[in-house]
Assembly symmetry: D2
Homo-oligomer: 369 residues x 4
């Protein structure tokens, strides 16, 4: 019931603030004997790391992860894995003004109202730096998945920046790593680059939509009624900073469909397993995976830390304006891509373990299988 | 960690199948001394009850709730409240065909794959009848809220049926109870009636979008980072049958906004509390309520149980077609409205209790307050 | 986090009061496909049933259990199983006096202090009747264990009544079912019969010690550090009404041993598995099962509902005396035997599922195995 | 559901091995605004620190705790507090032999069987060093209790070493800090000193009984039926390394009492609150605190790491003998005293928060109160 924890059996508790000595994740419930080292995790952290292009915050953090426990001679022992990332580039003075005034659209005011105290340095606990810990934990989840469900592939990418949507007809997954926006549509990425440059220079920021797909997920993961796979994915993605909407498969557009259109018709595939004519369901029916691609999308709002003055109040109740200096992401959606992937990995693994517990991984046979 | 439970402190575990002897909810953690009786709960169940118009299933269920425990002489005792609703109108023969074939878009196939057994009568556990138990539990949550946060008002309504959107300029909340669609736009409701009639007669169904608003929610409810109020609401709504997308405030459209547009600017209200120029945040910042209206929307896909034949397979792997006879909702979104309200009530109460535990309900003062 | 729930994956939530309409258990997380029917569960309930000898309460309850959900055509479906036991012999007038006065040694006063309301009929939620629901749930756990760990045998018995201890040199497990005290020492049982008769007639009651042994438990169940198998057993047994102490293996007497004496020396058994010279550990080391018998003992205090007058106060603060009429167990330890067995079954199964989730049931090999 | 976590709302997750880089505790759910600094926590850690007398392990660990998160300018922020203790005195070579052979009475064998891998250095996760993290977390719990329940006092002490019992007639709590055994009976402490010297020199070890008392606990903490205060205390104490039995109040001896003897008769105290003639209940009735002293005792078995050879087997299944060199506690019960106190502090606080959530801390009035 820890409010800083997610997962049932593969449990991740994150801790730490943006400008404290360190932040990290306590990962409990990891299966034993899994090869894990710091370099493996660093690979994923480097993808989320700030300062890699002019489109992300210029804070210079190595985000070097240390494994403090739970791994012995390169393999997990089944006991808690402590992952620590030290904060090194902390320019607290950048945040002087916001200690007294609340940024509109930011957690400043609600943290103050709830706790009567807040760490104003870099947003404290509400900083997107918290997501580094998720990415590290997700790195462990990926190594376990490699052993237990080696067919699983997880791919995240941006499909929309502001009003500019990528074109699915041009999608080429090989392009995702070729542009700073993780965009599978190279033409869109090029347009986005110019658009974001303008916004950044004008002291503004912009929202985005990220899609994360998990292929190779076995049928049968998830559970009715409150532990549905889609419920858990919705919670996992909504828990990422600045996310305001989550969709599974057809998502909000499912409202526009008729039952005739929405039915993903079922056939027998050549591999002797069920195949489907479409995937409006996003790979999940009744909260349980079908074996199709699991498809999740989420909307990330624009950063509230902008250089354009906005009206606000201070702790003492005085009305004023605020401008947030410092080093901020003009489009936080970009760095949310590896975070969404990490959350997907953790949720899939967690439900793989839950399913193994309850059913032993056995499946109701269809046809000759 | 029960997968059929939601809530941290006000915990609701639902149980039961569509065509078994009964279904219900075990509510644990309810504060003591709250006036609750069966008639109070029945009021809410009657709003969700099937067969009230030609636009919902013609199954005739009284949905009469019995309180089996946890209430003594009309007041809660602080011990578990057991709510039971007996199933009375079970025409199991209606479901003969679907025992062997899987309805496309339905949980039939995934339950089979996961468990190797399923109760085919009316969808068993995956039936929307499960939501009756949520509504009953939500009725208790409302009574507790009346005592602990009497300003809270929860209102749900439909804002879209298929491609037809209600017009916010015509919204009149007094209209919500005047049409079978819980629609605040009377003109839209009239158009929807004709549209749904046509769909129903043609053996089809349609999706919908439901919006639920909680006003009067105190600032300070929720918690970073995985117990965010919006995370919990996303999970609560996504756990409702057929929901494929959840939005908070601006929702998916937040992606289209710039930081300048998205900032809900802050002023001092006449009541000495913070006031806002807009509510893109949907009443939640950093996972914690601001005191503004908490606004959630969710998309409900069309029923997969339709009279139009769809291609599918049987358990033995034979390809065939399926038509679902029986008594189904042409637009399940309609009856999802009271369910969404119930989930909102439970989540708000749960976080009110969590906040009382951690902070004692004290608030960081702003201005003279 | 429900306070009326135990178990991680095999989760049991009990509900109901002694004199309400019914009580029961909601069992979530049960593996699918397990043969379960009401008669199987009734077998265990009948062992706990009151009124079977003059040594237990003369209340006449059939304790007939009904399965309301989660079982289809005689097999579990993997969804919540609702077990309901209706209360039929409720002579509430027997409890008139204790509605205003608190029985010394009873939960009357603390329920009142905590909740400001209590159901005085038969102790309400604090009644030992609640344990009927545990026994029913334990019956399901036993059926699952039969499939997943068929070597497991669970046996409970009384080893002490008041100051009278059974003699381990005379233990014959075949005797357990031959006397009303579940005592493996027939001679002791005979002495206890006379002793309890006297106490009962004098309006007094007496305590007892119960031992529960699980043999055939696979090595490897349990987990450091707070989910230890012994931690969970201690909690499970201490949660039974009137229990004041719990021991694993040598128990409190372990304090008297030296390290040389306490060491259960290890050999290689003829079956190629580790064998031990003794079992001071009670089958658990570092919180994890060794494969030896798991041995738990607990002390049950004497019933506080006695005919001998005791000094007390009333709700209005007046000092007085109280005598509890009604039908009470002179030695509640007797009926605690099947309850302790049920708790053992639930805990062992829960950890079997947890272990299957984390390790897949694989074991670190010793020797040729 | 993390198996390395305890607590419902004040949640403590410990992590780390004896000879890894560090160990610690993640504390979530702490109320905000509580004054906490490293020196306050160090005070408690120093009491548990090894090497303080010849009666405890000669390992030289400063056990210096660092606060990595959740505290800003000396006050808790309500977000997770990360407590880290670096391991500095790690002589891993001391443990060479036990990497292949299992110490009888130690977790060596069960960790191997469960996980197929274990960190043999100093017992890895099963080392009593883990309890340092509990003591640090308990230090935070104490600071919160000072604010929320300032009357609470927690005192632990040893009442038995081997067969030698302290004499309650000679108890003087002022003596507890005056001898290395935390013994309130100065005469017993003196005898124990000689006894333990002999055992230590002969390469042996011995068990002990520790008692922990919490006075000033408000009536009303705890909950039926599985979240009972005594259930939680039993689990908390049984989770401490080497504990084999837990007693509340009269404990196992409750079995010897009659109902007449066991009744703690109730009067009206001079302070207008209920007073009791005795405290067999150990301050808890029906799982809820009465306002009397909460009294818990637990038995600690003797260390299995001894210099006297014991028979065992190796991983490859060969029978042999083992002698454990290295620096071990001849009576681990001694250092369990501050650990038991810490667990008591955490459990009491957790239930104080739970009670505040459900009842708001209101109490059913008795008499004029």
């Amino acid at each position: 019931m820890s409010l800083n924890t997610f997962g049932h059996l593969f449990r991740v508790t994150t801790w730490g603030e943006s400008h404290g000595p360190a932040l990290g994740a306590t990962v409990d419930g990891c299966p034993p004997g899994v090869a894990v080292d710091e370099a493996m995790l660093q690979h994923w952290l480097d993808r989320r790391k700030p300062g890699q292009s002019k489109y992300t915050t210029q804070r210079r953090e190595p985000d070097a992860v240390r494994i403090l426990s739970g791994v012995f001679e390169g393999r997990t022992t089944g006991t808690p894995v402590q992952l620590m990332i030290e904060n090194t580039d902390q320019r607290s003075k950048d945040y002087g003004e916001i200690a007294q005034r609340f940024r509109p659209g930011h957690a400043d005011i609600t943290y103050w109202q709830k706790y009567g105290i807040r760490d104003p340095r870099g947003g404290g606990r509400s900083s997107a730096r918290e997501t580094a810990a998720r990415v590290a934990a997700g790195g462990i989840a990926r190594e376990v998945l490699k052993l237990l469900a080696p067919e699983v592939r997880i791919t995240g990418y941006m499909v929309q920046m502001g009003r500019l949507r990528a074109d699915r007809d041009r999608f080429d997954m090989a392009e995702v790593e070729n542009n700073p926006f993780w965009c599978p549509d190279a033409a869109a990425a090029s347009i986005w680059a110019g658009h974001l440059d303008e916004l950044r220079k004008s002291g503004n920021s912009v929202g985005a939509v990220v899609e994360v797909v998990a292929s190779g997920v076995p049928a049968g993961l998830g559970a009715p009624v409150y532990g549905k796979l889609d419920t858990e994915l919705a919670a996992a993605m909504m828990s990422i900073n600045a996310v305001k909407g989550v969709e599974i498969g057809a998502g909000m557009a499912a409202a526009e469909l008729t039952g005739v259109e929405n039915a993903d018709e079922i056939f027998m595939g050549n591999d002797g397993r069920p195949a489907y004519s479409s995937n409006h369901a996003g790979g999940i029916l009744g909260g349980i995976s079908t074996g199709q691609d699991v498809v999740v999308r989420f909307a990330v709002k624009p950063t509230s830390s902008i250089l354009t003055p906005r009206k606000t109040i201070s702790i003492s109740g005085e009305e004023s304006e605020i401008v947030t200096k410092g080093r901020h992401d003009p489009c936080v959606g970009i760095r949310a891509v590896p975070v969404g992937e990490a959350m997907m990995a953790c949720v899939i693994l967690d439900h793989l373990l839950l399913d193994r517990a309850q059913t032993g991984g056995a499946r109701g046979p269809i046809g000759a299988s």
